[in-house]
């Protein structure tokens, strides 16, 4: 099936190649920039476009220059495209799919006529440090600059309508992770697995093989052997189209699996025994005038295009070669029917000067004075060793002048290197080295102390070729030229790290893999230093860009529910997110819920209340240590309110604790403080008093907790309890009783009064919570029982003047300031926070918590509003609500001591700036200050 692309009328597809990865039996079509193109399964976006004769794939970032294929790999800097909703797709890596819609980026109004390419004409003005120089002054224009720059900023479009996709993550514990599936990596994986190691072999391309894939017959034969060995060796997990993006402490290795079944991407967090870095070598572009014109290509790029996708890269070629890859490209080009017009051999001192052309290459001017008209210039000037993963383990690369590239510094037990980054040599030598490294890795993964000798690879001489005598692009992604780098040095940015940041060279999508060494070479030449002395920039994670989706993965956000949650949901409760708990805020009308509690009886689900089962003879000692008040003589069946302070005297938590048996207590903590309190208890028991005989169990979830509040609370409870006497004398305020509730044994109940009403808090084994809740509502129907939510409870307790730790206190509130003076017992031997509270006793220079009433009963100043006096802040509102019981607004807040006396007039600043006058109330409680309802 030979099809010319309608849009171009060109067909550059070759006849079958022995190593091609396209499936000619599976043709398909996709669209590019609105036109339909043919492709085969196995084509990348750019290979299919190149087969149709398309040469311009994008416009460059700063100057909007036309760009085409250069590396035909993931790194191809001129081939970032938009695919459907997805921006910044690597078009030389992404496979085409039937119906795919791809568009160029950075081109407006079209790839062909890009108005912003006028930038090219302005190039002298877009000099080194362009951003820093141009958009600094005047400062008032920053918003305008931002708008303009945003219009020119690179990258595709993110669609807010893009569908949510399924990203995944998983953990792995391989003995050996091999990063790179070329010949050395495959050999290392096979040897390590044969030595008994569990191996993860990670390859960025869709298939294993590295450079063997685009090689000649001997390479293809070796490739077949190695692939068969990998398949035949048990214990190797092969991940293709995947990349090791980072190595962190403890050989924690991040792998992004780009195409896994059922998910868009998967992040694998692997704890590797040994990491083997086998990334191969990256071919380095050459710096000369016109080096970015479509038609200028690396030797590996041309060879991949010909051998993997059977695409002819051009018709008439010039080849600049300094190594065997360039020589092989000459053979491949000739074999593909390309007319190789001139071979410029850098090994004998030959060179190119500039490439000429506009949207495509027209001619190449050589150093010998000749100019050759052609549409393809292939360069093979040397290699960059991507030592990133080793650098992440602390390695600093060392420059080798003979080989004209950097090598790993070496000396790691758990990160080893093989393949091209470790040295040169024949294919056989590379495979042998990989095998030796794989065996060593397996040994070291199993015995930490094992240090095995690893043979070294030969290092071959290579000419040092970085830049011709003309200036050209160093960083293609960021449009940084060698001229700009020289200017940066002239302006004083003469270290590579400074020049990098000033010019943004190496900071674009290729992240230094193509341009880093050239940048170093240009800076070295400009400063007169050697490359070795100049050093490299530091490679940091990620090795390769990672999508936010892969990092986020499936999000785990635990939520906690009470056993009554199904009832709340079925009855229209408005959910309140309280930490991880989902609670009913109200069931429609919180004010009505308040009135129903004050006039009859209500139920609230208080299951999230922190609950601790305390057992052992030393529980009283523990309670005395934790709470600021006294606990030595809590009688059996009694309950006491307690306040905890941290060691700095700041209020930490509060709650009640009841004594259920001789050595058995139940403690409650605030819902939000439950976790902190539990760890606080354990820290005292484990570190300060390990001799105390106390067992603490967290039982928050074990019991469904329901507060029954209101004047009819006793009537309601008596309908479901018959083995506990509930009369006011038999079961008075602040007592606890065990018994059965609605027939459920193992329940207990205590009389407390957060709402200020007669109230019982019942705790039933959680599995029966929903049934007991429903039973209470059914049986209490005649009493008019209604559920109430957290909002009603907050109003009720504010009316009663009960503080909420964390709402009416903050990280600076000492017990004395919160009106808890009565609780502090400094005559106890010890308790948390005792020294600070001792020093505070008797002082009166801190804010006091008071009740407040705005004079205007309809004004509800927002919580957090400041209280001011003569322009100075003298307090703040901590809680404020409209009180349904009083029919007016009420508040609680902190005021300066001289304003704490009842009757003091204060002034609150509302968020809109208006003043709300208010008066300090006689006590915190504004409803039933004498507690008659509570004790009823």
């Amino acid at each position: 099936m030979r099809r010319k692309a309608q849009a171009t009328g060109v067909d550059m597809r070759l006849g079958p190649r022995p190593g091609e990865i396209i499936d000619r039996s599976r043709g398909l079509t996709f669209t590019w920039d609105g036109d339909t193109y043919p492709a085969y399964r196995g084509d990348t976006i750019t290979s299919a476009l190149a087969a149709a004769g398309v040469r311009v794939m994008s416009r460059s970032f700063k100057y909007h220059r036309p760009r085409g294929v250069m590396t035909t790999s993931y790194l191809d800097p001129g081939c970032l495209v938009q695919v459907g909703d997805e921006p910044n797709v690597r078009a030389s890596h992404r496979m085409v799919e039937p119906g795919m819609s791809a568009r160029p980026q950075n081109a407006w109004p079209s790839l062909r006529y890009d108005v912003k390419s006028a930038n090219g004409a302005l190039a002298p003005f877009l000099s080194a440090g362009f951003y820093y120089k141009t958009f600094m002054r005047p400062k008032r224009l920053w918003p305008a600059y931002e708008r303009v720059l945003r219009g020119f900023s690179p990258g595709g479009a993110v669609s807010p309508e893009a569908a949510h996709d399924y990203y995944d993550k998983r953990y792995a514990h391989p003995d050996v992770v091999v990063a790179g599936g070329g010949p050395a990596g495959m050999a290392a994986a096979v040897a390590a697995a044969a030595a008994g190691a569990a191996v993860m072999l990670v390859e960025g391309e869709p298939e294993l093989g590295g450079h063997l894939r685009w090689g000649a017959a001997p390479e293809l034969a070796a490739l077949g052997d190695l692939r068969r060995a990998v398949a035949a060796t048990g214990g190797i997990e092969v991940l293709t189209d995947s990349v090791v993006t980072g190595r962190y402490d403890g050989n924690w290795v991040a792998v992004v699996q780009r195409s896994a079944p059922g998910v868009v991407e998967r992040l694998i967090k692997a704890r590797a025994g040994v990491l083997v870095a086998a990334p191969g070598l990256i071919e380095r572009p050459y710096v000369f005038s016109g080096n970015d014109i479509p038609g200028v290509m690396l030797s590996t790029g041309a060879r991949r295009l010909i051998n993997l996708w059977a695409v002819k890269p051009g018709e008439r070629a010039v080849v600049l070669t300094a190594n065997s890859s360039g020589d092989a490209a000459v053979c491949d080009l000739a074999d593909a029917g390309v007319d190789v017009l001139k071979i410029v051999d850098a090994r004998s001192g030959e060179d190119v000067v500039r490439a000429k052309g506009g949207r495509t290459l027209r001619a190449v001017e050589c150093a010998d004075g000749t100019t050759v008209e052609c549409d393809l210039l292939v360069t093979a000037v040397g290699w960059t060793a991507p030592t990133s993963l080793l650098n992440m383990a602390g390695d600093r690369p060392v420059y080798n002048e003979r080989a004209a590239r950097f090598f790993p510094g070496g000396g790691h037990d758990d990160v080893l290197a093989t393949g091209g980054i470790a040295g040169d040599g024949s294919l056989e030598q590379l495979i042998d080295h990989g095998s030796a490294v794989g065996r060593a890795a397996a040994r070291r993964a199993h015995e930490v102390s094992a240090t095995t000798e690893i043979p070294s690879l030969p290092v071959e001489a290579h000419p040092a070729l970085f830049k011709a005598r003309t200036h050209g692009f160093v960083d293609f992604s960021e449009d940084v030229s060698s001229k700009e780098l020289e200017e940066a040095v002239a302006e004083g940015y003469d270290s590579i790290e400074l020049a990098k940041r000033y010019t943004t060279a190496t900071m674009g999508p290729a992240q230094g893999k193509l341009e880093s060494v050239n940048a170093v070479a240009v800076v070295a030449a400009a400063t007169g230093a050697t490359i070795a002395a100049t050093g490299t920039t530091v490679w940091r994670p990620p090795y390769s860009p990672v999508t936010l989706g892969a990092l986020a993965g499936r999000s785990f956000e635990p939520v906690r529910y009470s056993p009554m949650q199904p009832w709340h949901e079925a009855h229209g409760a408005k959910p309140l997110v309280a930490g991880q708990w989902i609670r009913p805020d109200h069931y429609g009308d919180p004010a009505a819920e308040v009135r129903s509690v004050r006039s009859g009886v209500g139920l609230i689900d208080v299951t999230p209340l922190g609950k601790f089962d305390l057992r052992g003879p030393d529980v009283p000692k523990l309670l005395n240590q934790l709470y600021i008040n006294k606990w030595s003589k809590l009688a059996l069946g009694s309950v006491r309110y307690g306040v905890m302070c941290a060691e700095d005297g700041v209020v930490l938590d509060d709650g009640v604790t009841g004594r259920l048996g001789d050595d058995h207590y139940l403690m409650t903590a605030t819902s939000s403080g439950a976790e902190t309190v539990w760890e606080w208890i354990e820290s005292w028991l484990q570190t300060e008093h390990p001799e105390w005989r106390v067992h603490v169990a967290r039982v928050t979830s074990d019991f469904a907790s329901i507060n029954i509040a209101g004047p009819r609370a006793r009537d309601l409870l008596s309908l479901v309890v018959d083995d506990v006497a509930l009369g006011p004398e038999e079961f008075p305020y602040m007592r606890v009783r065990s018994g059965s509730i609605a027939g459920i044994d193992g329940s207990f109940m205590w009389r407390i009064g957060f709402t200020g009403e007669l109230s019982y808090e019942i705790h039933v084994p959680a599995s029966y919570g929903l049934g007991v809740w429903e039973t209470l509502l059914e049986r209490g129907a005649d009493l008019g029982v209604k559920p109430f939510g957290v909002e009603a409870q907050r109003i009720l307790r504010l009316e009663k003047g009960h503080l909420i730790v964390g709402q009416d206190t903050d990280g600076l509130t000492r017990a004395y300031g919160a009106g808890l003076d009565w609780a502090v017992k400094l005559d106890k031997e010890d308790f948390a926070g005792k020294p600070e509270l001792g020093w505070q006793e008797g002082r009166d220079d801190f804010l006091r918590l008071v009740g407040l009433r705005p004079l205007e009963g309809t004004a509800v100043p927002a919580e957090g509003s400041q209280i001011v006096e003569a322009g100075i802040i003298v307090g703040r509102i901590t809680s404020s609500r409209m009180s349904p019981t009083l029919g007016r607004s009420i508040c609680m807040g902190f005021v300066a001591p001289h304003l704490a006396e009842p009757g003091s007039a204060i002034s609150i600043v509302a968020p809109d700036g208006s003043r709300v006058p208010a008066v300090v109330t006689p006590q915190l409680a504004q409803v039933d200050p004498k507690g008659e309802r509570l004790h009823g």
Partner: protein, 212 residues
Amino acid sequence: MAEPAVIARSPITPAEPPSVVDGWEVSGRRSGAGLTLVDCMPLAKILVRAAPDGAVGRWLGTPFGRAGTNPDGVLVTGSGPDEWTLFGPHGSGRALVGAVEDLSGERELVSALDVTHGRTLMRLTGAAARPLLSKLCAVDLGNAVSPNSAVFRSSVAKVITDVVRDDRSGVPSYLVHCERSYGSYLFGALLDAGAEFGIEVDGYTSTEMRGV
């Protein structure tokens, strides 16, 4: 009153069809899938705290990090350095608490707490159980670190969770339990992670503890 008509419910909504077993609302679904998740909430769960070298510790027998079945068919798991979690048939909780308390001597502090209603317990069984859990848990689940009868506590889908490897006839199987209030979330997280392996909910039967 006196009619104890209140039914016991798991925090996990039972998969259709619902059914009642031993006074518990459970799922009556029967699945033949290769990977299943069962809500085992009705099983008795007892938390024991005691010195590892004391009378109770010796009687329980299994060290921290390991599980074993005692002659009464109770699965004893060493869930902490001085802590065990016991799993018994439905309704056996009170007897188990009594048995532990009978053994505790004068000097040693021993506590036995029935946490049947406070822990959500589920069983994950199938060849893909391990790859599923490794999507949610960072602990090495391989045989070298976590062989059959291994017990550990770690984070599973960001919930602090106890995991007991308790293979069934050579098929990998894990008992997974967490604080009850997280149960519905954790059950959902396991099902979501297991979708790619074809996980199905299987119902609970009163024979759940037999043959452990």
